[in-house]
């Protein structure tokens, strides 16, 4: 950080023009930007990876949800990491990939949006927010090539159009708008299959929360890196909805009920299936 000999705020602070915090950092303190740190040679040692995120739209908004597991190779690095965050009042971001870098990116992204809002006195458009995130991912390409990719899923309520929208990204900063639903992370293949069958165009907010939980349970069923709801410790997925009223994290108590209902139904189905296969003497046919 450069300082002025008289102790006044340096020139970069009073330079007019940019409403972007990232641009300001690039000019004033580039070493603080994640993409500007020199990469040491050699392989990157093990670091936690975050896994599955699902998003789906419903009538009047969008739901974003993530499981609570982070893995480091075959080890569970954390069973209560949070991977879904409010980006600002009308959008949310969920992260998959290298957890440390992803959390730093989320922090910078939240600040970028708030900084713009304070300086300009108005919110960025949803497309504008999605594009800013794309730029930040692109600057991470060097680290991604070392195996430290960050793949977020961005969802928000578009105040101009009055609908919920979902954006996915690739490691090169490609930005793709998704319709209806999408999922990223190691369990996304299974979650996507689940979403495809369960999502309906006339879902309401509660229905969307239920579908999101179902998709995460399905992902956890088949993907070892995705954690299912932990009924012993009472750890539920982080589920958030974004509507015209803003970002709202679904309460733990509500999630406990949804998870109970989902698991109860699956248990009953399993028992029925078991009953049909059981012989009168107790063995399986």
């Amino acid at each position: 950080m450069t300082t002025d000999p008289y102790g006044r705020l340096p020139r970069a602070f009073t330079a007019p023009g940019s409403a972007s915090f990232v641009d300001f950092l690039a000019g004033h303190a580039p070493e603080l930007l994640p993409g500007n740190r020199p990469l040491p040679a050699g392989a990157v040692p093990g670091a936690p990876h975050a896994t599955t995120i699902v998003a789906l739209t419903f009538d009047g908004g969008v739901v974003l949800a993530g499981d609570r597991r982070a893995t480091m190779g075959p080890t569970i690095a954390s069973r209560e990491i949070e991977k879904v965050f409010p980006a600002d009042e009308f959008s949310a971001v969920g992260i998959a990939g290298s957890a440390g870098l992803a959390l730093e990116m989320v922090r910078l992204f939240q600040l970028e949006l708030e900084h713009y809002e304070k300086i300009e006195g108005t919110l960025l458009s949803l497309d504008g927010k999605a594009n800013r995130l794309a730029t930040m991912i692109r600057s991470n390409l060097g680290l991604a090539m070392q195996g430290l990719a960050v793949v977020p899923l961005f969802a928000g309520y578009d105040l101009d159009r009055g609908t919920g929208r979902i954006f996915s990204y690739d490691v090169t900063g490609g930005r793709y708008e998704e319709h209806a639903h999408h999922s990223v992370g190691s369990g996304s293949v299974f979650a996507r299959g689940s979403l495809k069958k369960l999502w309906q165009p006339d879902l309401d907010s509660d229905g969307a929360v239920r579908v999101a939980v179902e998709a995460l349970v399905d992902a956890a069923d088949d993907d070892s890196a995705t954690g299912g709801p932990d009924t012993v410790r009472g750890i539920w997925p982080v589920v958030a909805s974004v509507t015209a009223a803003g970002y709202l994290r679904v309460a733990e108590s509500t999630l406990a009920e949804v998870v109970d209902a989902v698991l109860e139904r699956r248990r009953a189905e399993h028992d029925r299936e078991g009953a049909s296969r059981r012989r009168p003497d107790g063995g399986l046919r």
Binding site: R8, F13, L111
Partner: protein, 231 residues
């Protein structure tokens, strides 16, 4: 080559101070008043886009009088300062005192080293968890800082209006009460009746300590009219 006339440092500083003071007194006043749940800011400003009161950080706000381009520049610098500090350390480590110091250094340096002083006067305010934790700093064009308690009036006929506020303000007033006082103060005239300023001509904002993270909120439209009617 002609020699410049000798001007004594006293005279030089006095001229600059007079120049800045005149510029500041030309604009309309801003009133800052503490109330039970926070700090209220009010000024007569018909513009909905060019603000004199703005958010700096979670619990910190900024109010200014004087030349718009100069205080706007300082406001942006303050937002950058606060956001950089919060990003480098933690959101809780950003406080009004640090920001007031940075502003004071900037104003002071410009006053002594540049040919024209900044024609601005600022308030940097922060709400604490209780009224005892509230901080209001007033910064002058020459970089002097005062730690104010309860209220500040700056710009326009600041001294006259200040006497009125001093007589009526007391700790623990409610929001409608302080807004009523603010509007009466802003509408006060040296002679004759107090002008009634309609809600549409007012710029009002609060730092509300009961709000979870970002305490700053602008009060406009029907909400403001209701609050003014209640005062």
């Amino acid at each position: 080559m002609s020699m410049p006339f000798y001007v004594s440092p006293e005279q030089l500083m006095k001229d600059r101070a007079d120049y800045a003071r005149k510029g500041i007194a030309r604009g309309r006043s801003v009133v800052v008043l503490a109330y039970d749940d926070g700090i209220a800011f009010a000024t007569e400003n018909p513009s909905r886009a060019l603000h004199k009161v703005s958010e700096i950080y979670d619990r910190i706000a900024f109010a200014a009088v004087g030349k718009y381009n100069e205080f706007e520049n300082l406001r942006v610098a303050g937002v950058r300062y606060a956001d950089l500090r919060g990003y480098s350390y933690d959101r809780g480590d950003v406080n009004a005192r640090g920001l007031a110091n940075a502003y004071a250094q900037t104003l002071g340096t410009v006053f002594t080293t540049e040919s024209k002083p900044l024609e601005v006067e600022l308030v940097v305010a922060e709400v604490g968890p209780d009224p005892g934790g509230d901080q209001i700093y007033r910064l002058s064009y020459d970089g002097s800082v005062t730690d104010e308690h309860g209220w500040v009036v700056m710009g326009g006929q600041a001294e006259d209006l200040g006497t009125r506020v001093a007589a009526e303000w007391s700790a623990g007033m409610t929001l409608p009460q302080v807004l009523g006082l603010a509007v009466r103060t802003l509408g006060a005239q040296a002679e004759g009746e107090t002008r009634v300023i309609p809600a549409a001509q007012l710029e009002v904002a609060v730092l509300d300590r009961t709000r979870p993270r970002r305490a700053f909120r602008r009060l406009t439209g029907a909400l403001l009219e209701d609050l003014l009617a209640g005062g």
